[in-house]
């Protein structure tokens, strides 16, 4: 075919298209919709089932934590930050408290650091298990939900056993972790923090988690229909992922083995062995598999940490009244969903001058308009779900 033929044919196709043009329909997906994980709103311009363009609208859940923290003391802020990404509450506490400690020049005792590490990894397992359960549900498979959530409950029980809270542990203190309830001055040096038998319970729960991962491997990952829905859908190339500031499993699934636990550890991660899980193609299936394998790695880390945890005090010596000297710092950690950071500016005194929260889901969500363009509506659900965001984390 000559260029002219191609052009003529194209012209006639365009003419037909214009003549039979169907008006695009503007479809609101959310804020009240089963698959938007809360109150995300997408204004989608659809042609039949195909999305021409999509515009996310956020802010329905804005709680103003950044502003609130300007009028709270550093101690009070710990109760706020674990409510940002509530499925992994503990993990979002740690970078904040580390940032405050850095500003104050306090080094928490080793045991406290190891407890933080264990609880962070448990939070990662819990968060990923939520994804393991909700993502197949979005594709219409209802059973994995119940299986994965059942085992997540075991993990939450562990977190609750130490901290007293399933979702909002509020367990970190400047200079360490919270001493056991009722532990007075004389008990501070002893390991009164962790309930008796907790480590054994952790080990048996981790065995359970490995079993659950194997179950999910056969029930979901190997399922032909699941593959048909996810393989090759919503591909994010590595360079795109970096441009949009994706982090965490979403970035690693695109083939960038970047993990802040290796790059910039502020907990004793160098002392445990674990692999950074990454995948090649960056489609929805890879994002699922990466998270599934991360659960395994996290469980391995927990098991190692349980063996290695030293005894010692829980809290370093800090003044009764937390006052932070003038200065600023940015501390980021590997939240289950990706990079989670706090930029704190202190002008001295009991309250921060300004605190900026670099929340993971907000950055991960920014790729939505690009990636959803030209997708089908069912793929919208598949792609959106695979990014694993929490609306509280987006709106803050």
């Amino acid at each position: 075919m000559t260029d002219r033929d191609i052009a003529m044919r194209h012209r006639s196709e365009v003419a037909v298209s214009v003549e039979l043009e169907t008006p695009g329909m503007t479809l609101n997906i959310g804020p009240q919709h089963p698959s938007t994980h809360g109150v995300l709103r997408l204004i989608a311009n659809v042609d039949g089932e195909r999305i021409i363009s999509v515009q996310p609208v956020i802010g329905y859940m804005h709680r103003g934590y950044e502003k609130l923290s300007e009028v709270r003391t550093y101690v009070q802020i710990t109760t706020l930050v674990n409510r940002i990404d509530w499925v992994a509450g503990f993990a979002s506490e740690v970078p904040y408290i580390v940032a405050v400690e850095r500003l104050m020049g306090v080094e928490p005792p080793e045991r406290a650091q190891w407890i933080r590490l264990i609880l962070s990894e448990l939070a990662r397992i819990a968060s990923h298990l939520v994804f393991m359960s909700s993502y197949p549900l979005e594709l219409g498979a209802i059973t994995p939900l119940f299986h994965a959530l059942r085992d997540r409950e075991r993990v939450l029980e562990l977190i609750e056993g130490v901290t007293g809270g399933r979702f909002h542990p509020n367990f970190n203190r400047v200079g360490g972790v919270k001493p056991a309830a009722g532990a007075g001055k004389q008990q501070r040096g002893v390991s009164q923090d962790i309930p008796a038998g907790w480590f054994a319970q952790t080990q048996s729960t981790m065995e359970r988690i490995f079993g659950m991962c194997d179950d999910l491997d056969t029930l979901v990952v190997g399922n032909e229909l699941f593959k048909a829905r996810t393989v090759g859908v919503g591909i994010i190339p590595a360079d795109r992922a970096i441009e949009y500031g994706l982090s965490g499993p979403n970035l690693r699934a695109s083939g960038v083995p970047y993990d802040l636990r290796k790059v910039e550890p502020h907990l004793p991660y160098p002392e445990v062995e674990f692999n950074v899980i990454s995948a090649e193609s960056g489609d929805c299936h890879d994002r699922y598999v990466v998270r599934l394998n991360e659960i395994r790695e996290a469980a391995k880390i927990v098991l190692q940490a349980v063996d290695k945890i030293p005894s010692g005090p829980l809290v370093a010596k800090v003044p009764r009244l937390i006052k932070v000297p003038k200065g600023q710092t940015y501390v980021r950690g590997e939240n289950p969903k990706g990079e989670f950071g706090y930029y704190i500016i202190s002008e001295g005194g009991q309250k921060p001058y300004r605190m900026k929260i670099r929340s993971t889901s907000f950055s991960n969500l920014s790729i939505l308009p690009w990636i959803l363009e030209g997708q089908l509506i069912p793929d919208l659900v598949a792609v959106m779900g695979s990014l694993d965001f929490v609306l509280g984390d987006v709106d803050r």
């Binding site: 052009a7 003529m8 298209s17 043009e21 695009g24 609101n28 919709h33 039949g48 030209g374």
Partner: protein, 140 residues
């Protein structure tokens, strides 16, 4: 023509309709009824709709209907022959075989033309606003 076999079908249709109508009527009487404008608004994920649903739908969907008509009508011919197959012998099988080959050929043609590809990449019209002018061929 004996239609007695259809008597019960008519009876069931009447019974079913009667049940449904009575149930809907009873439900209307028994249930509370206090409509508010918000309640009556069409559901659109909690947002006041910006726009009416489209009146026209993409051609693709009509294509399915057309293909259905083609294939389903053909199937009906097959039923008629299948019942009376013994009366026609090999001649009937040959004729129907030819007919089926034609059907398969039609399917193959439609397939090759792309009418059975539902997840085609975006159409050109979304990207190209104005079609390029055909290049004028130089006369040597």
């Amino acid at each position: 023509m004996d239609l007695s076999a259809y008597l019960s079908i008519a009876l069931m249709a009447m019974l079913g309709t009667g049940f449904a109508v009575v149930a809907l009527w009873a439900s209307k009487r028994l249930a509370p009824n206090n409509p508010t404008p918000e309640k009556l608004a069409p559901y659109e994920s909690g947002i006041v709709p910006l726009q009416e649903p489209a009146e026209r739908f993409p051609v693709k969907f009509y294509l399915v209907a057309m293909m259905f008509v083609i294939f389903d009508v053909e199937i009906v011919f097959l039923f008629a022959w299948a019942v009376a197959m013994d009366d026609f012998g090999w001649a009937g099988i040959a004729a129907v075989g030819l007919f089926m080959l034609l059907l398969l050929e039609t399917l193959g043609y439609v397939w090759k033309r792309g009418a059975l590809d539902w997840n085609v990449a975006q159409r050109a019209r979304y990207r190209v606003v104005v079609a390029p002018e055909p290049p004028v061929e130089e006369v040597a």
